[in-house]
Amino acid sequence: MTDLTDLTVAEIRTGVAGGSFTATEVAGAFNANVAAAQQALNAFIVATPEKALEAAASVDADRAAGKVLGKLAGVPIGMKDLFCTKGVQTTAASHILEGFKPEYESSVSQRLWDAGAGMLGKLNLDQFAMGSSNETSYFGNVISPWKRNDGGNAALAPGGSSGGSSAAVAARLCPAATGTDTGGSIRQPAAFTGISGIKPTYGRCSRWGIVAFASSLDQAGPMARDVRDCAIMLEVMAGFDAKDSTSLDMAVPAWEAGLSGDLKGKKVGIPREYRLDGMDDDVAKSWEDGIAWLKDAGAEVVDISLPHTKYALPCYYIIAPAEASSNLARYDGVRYGLRDLPDGAGLQDMYAATRAAGFGAEVKRRILIGTYVLSAGFYDAYYTQAQKVRTLISRDFTEAFKVCDVILAPTAPSAAFALGEKSADPLEMYLNDVFSVPASLAGLPAMSVPAGLNREGLPLGLQLIGRPFDEQGVLNAGLAIEARAGFSARPERWW
């Protein structure tokens, strides 16, 4: 019998609808994988097998009653623990929110449940989504299911911040998961673990009920094993929501039905500024492979320039911490979460003690940077300047899209690194987002698809960046690469 946990979202949906197996059987199989891997991978902060079974039973009953099934009927998924889930602890992987049980459901997760998906659990992440390796979680590191082929046993980073999501999908603990992307937090972990993930245009997915990091950048999106599954998930997750003032009031296209790997007449831009000195040979080669595959799919390849690329990272590391310092002001020990009240302390002392005890080192670092760049006397030099540079970065893309339809670049400058390898120096960790941050600053749809393995036997991802609202163009170029890369590698089960 087929191992149900090897099936894609599309296959599960079709199999459940057609009666090849029940939703309950699927949920049971994934619940078992989640439980078996928890000790070794730590991908989940909380597992909710009962929620997965409950949703599955409801789908099976609906099917038996002949009711119309939702787009994700019978598909159990993992939910990044940044999405508020009613009655289920939501922590953002922080101590300050430990024990927080929201009284409401995030708009994106509600859409998924309404479509018939079930929740396997809440996935680990970098604390408040701040990190690129999942090493800043209060609930411990997530361990990538991948190993280098050097015979060593180094524990590798699953990427971040959606590291629980990437590890869980790659290890077949769930067929798909939600992620959020502020500067690359969907794309980089997808690349590190050999899966696909898409960040849609800013505003496509409602931010309502997602724990805020940097509100002008945060976007939810799906992570799954292939492009089609990403399209299926995104179609459900996206859509207008009056509760998010930046939500796009636009119809959600039928992305799955519109999938086509034929790129005849399309122009693919190759940004020369992304060709960095000392670029990793395997990354450079995978980029060349990607160019050849897109040509083979009928696309014309054109050289483009994004002149302000080198300023994207420093720009991001002003804007994102500035917004974070403001967003995280809400954690005060009064309304929810942790309270640390030293003996005889007044209100101000309580705030400071609570926040000192509740936030991890990276979160504090970013709050301090953000507070500094927004403080009197420095605001214009740092924050206003960064917002102007952001305009220029966005304008670079507008100009580029006059001569191309989609942009191809590596997702990350390297394959997965070992845990601890980059955590000593915050700047070195930040540099891992060099290829993903520009599209975030410009609010553009961008996705990562697996391109192949490097010399260490680790996955590399290729990134596709599209015009605003052109998720279809991004997905289609991703599909063209997927069809030619023939990526079928998967981590050997050691857990």
Binding site: T246, P314, I318, S325, Q387, K388, R390
Partner: protein, 100 residues
């Protein structure tokens, strides 16, 4: 621009973060490293650019001007609002005494 211990202590106070002397000393070089790096933005000619206010063109909407236009975010939710408070009392958030 670089920061010293006194500046970091002041920022930490503004951010309501209690930081020990040892932590402060460790943060100074870290923050200076990051600030020195982001200062390269100063070399960009931004004379043609306005600061970005919205990354994707959108318009701000007004909700309907009626009570509980959205029942989920409207009123009448006291118990739900207080449900996660560390020290809710008598239907209010409990805080340490603030009046001397």
């Amino acid at each position: 621009m670089s920061v010293d211990i006194a500046t970091v202590a002041k920022i930490a106070a503004l951010a309501r973060l209690k930081v020990s002397d040892a932590e402060l000393a460790a943060m100074v070089p870290e923050l200076n490293g990051i600030l020195a790096w982001v200062e390269q933005l100063g070399e960009v000619d931004v004379s043609s650019a306005e600061p970005m206010t919205a990354v994707i063109e959108n318009h701000l909407r007004l909700r309907e001007d009626v009570i509980n236009a959205d029942p989920l975010t409207g009123g009448g939710k006291r118990d739900a609002v207080l449900a996660n408070a560390p020290a809710a009392e008598h239907g209010f958030f409990g805080v340490p005494k603030v009046i001397e």
